[in-house]
């Protein structure tokens, strides 16, 4: 055992490799409000939740980026979702995006964990990122009152008016 252990440690150190990538999500040119929660304010500061917002569509976009030098370098490491937000919200006739969710999947594990090859600094890793959300617009006061007892389905929690 005393002879095996140094060999095991040397093997671990000698053949260790890694790979990966990172991606920053921004929305610097967005023309619409984007909220990661289910609520958003209007210009007067009033809070709108799923009772006073109407679901009109889904936002769905994503990118996959390659990284090199053991994940230290990711070319095009910024993903500006503004263009997708502006196009999809406008097409759906919405006014804002709520429930924005940023997801990183393990779809690149085969590259990031490719044994032996990921010892090479130029071996690419990658990160697949998906951005989703609900496109909404303000309800008219009458429809908001009528819908306050109805779960609209895009909220994780539902609230019902007391009898």
């Amino acid at each position: 055992m005393n002879r095996v252990l140094p060999l095991v440690i040397a093997s671990i150190v000698g053949v260790a490799g890694c790979a990966g990538a990172h991606l920053e999500i921004t929305a610097t040119q967005s023309r619409y409000a984007i909220s990661m929660s289910q609520v958003v304010r209007d210009g007067s500061g009033r809070l709108y939740d799923h009772h006073s917002l109407e679901y009109v569509g889904s936002l769905d976009t994503g990118r996959t980026r390659l990284g090199f030098f053991y994940s230290a370098l990711t070319p095009l490491s910024t993903f500006d979702i503004s263009e997708d937000v502006n196009a999809q919200v406008s097409a759906a006739g919405g006014e804002a995006v709520v429930g924005l969710t940023v997801s990183a999947s393990d779809g690149c594990d085969i590259l990031n964990n490719f044994a032996i090859f990921n010892i090479l600094p130029l071996w690419p890793g990658c990160v697949p990122v998906t951005v989703t959300g609900d496109i909404v617009r303000r309800r008219s006061p009458l429809s908001a009152a009528a819908s306050s007892s109805v779960d609209t389905g895009f909220a994780t929690t539902s609230v019902r008016r007391a009898p």
């Binding site: 890694c18 990966g20 619409y32 909220s35 304010r41 009033r46 809070l47 990183a104 999947s105």
Partner: protein
């Protein structure tokens, strides 16, 4: 000379764990997600802070406190001499909604402005050890909007994590 049967697992059995981990990576179905769907305050990304506004007409906010959160998912295996495979897995859920509410003195007037949102995927293989990790980090500030109001709300109403609140609805004109 007869060979003595042993109970040690065959090599193909010992490699089953890493093989399963590798196949799971090929499928690519597990995700790590950052969201704040349970928060009662806006968690805003981008220059437009309100619905129907532009970046220029968004109301100014004041009194900012830094806030951050991170979600990650990791998994892998380790081959231990004489012991076999050890698979490990770990994950956590986003907590930005509860953090924002706990830091905001008044949820009706608070909001979070996100200043950094970074997703990362990383893998390491070291002969008898492999680990795969996905992380989404969020950084921002909790800000107070002096003109913020909650507006009318139904009764009872639910807050983060589905907790139902039964406090009375304030009458119109009453101070909060």
């Amino acid at each position: 000379m007869h060979s003595i049967p042993t109970t040690a697992p065959a090599s193909h059995v010992r490699l089953a764990g890493p093989f399963i981990v590798l196949c799971a990576g090929l499928v690519g179905c597990a995700t790590t997600s950052m969201t704040a769907r349970a928060a009662r305050v806006p968690v805003l990304l981008g220059p437009v802070a309100c619905i129907g506004c532009t970046a220029a007409t968004s109301p100014p906010a004041s009194t900012a406190w830094p806030i951050s959160d991170s979600v990650h998912r990791s998994g892998g295996y380790m081959l231990l001499p004489y012991l076999g495979n050890v698979d490990f897995f770990g994950a956590n859920a986003p907590g930005i909604d509860l953090k924002a509410e706990s830091m905001a003195p008044d949820p009706c007037k608070a909001e979070v402005r996100v200043s950094g949102l970074i997703a990362e995927s990383f893998g390491v293989v070291a002969f008898v050890y492999a680990k795969s990790e996905q992380t989404v980090d969020l950084e921002g500030h909790v800000q107070i909007l002096p003109s913020g109001t909650c507006g009318p709300r139904p009764w009872p109403y639910s807050g983060p994590q589905g907790i139902v609140y039964l406090d009375p609805v304030p009458s119109p004109g009453a101070s909060p």
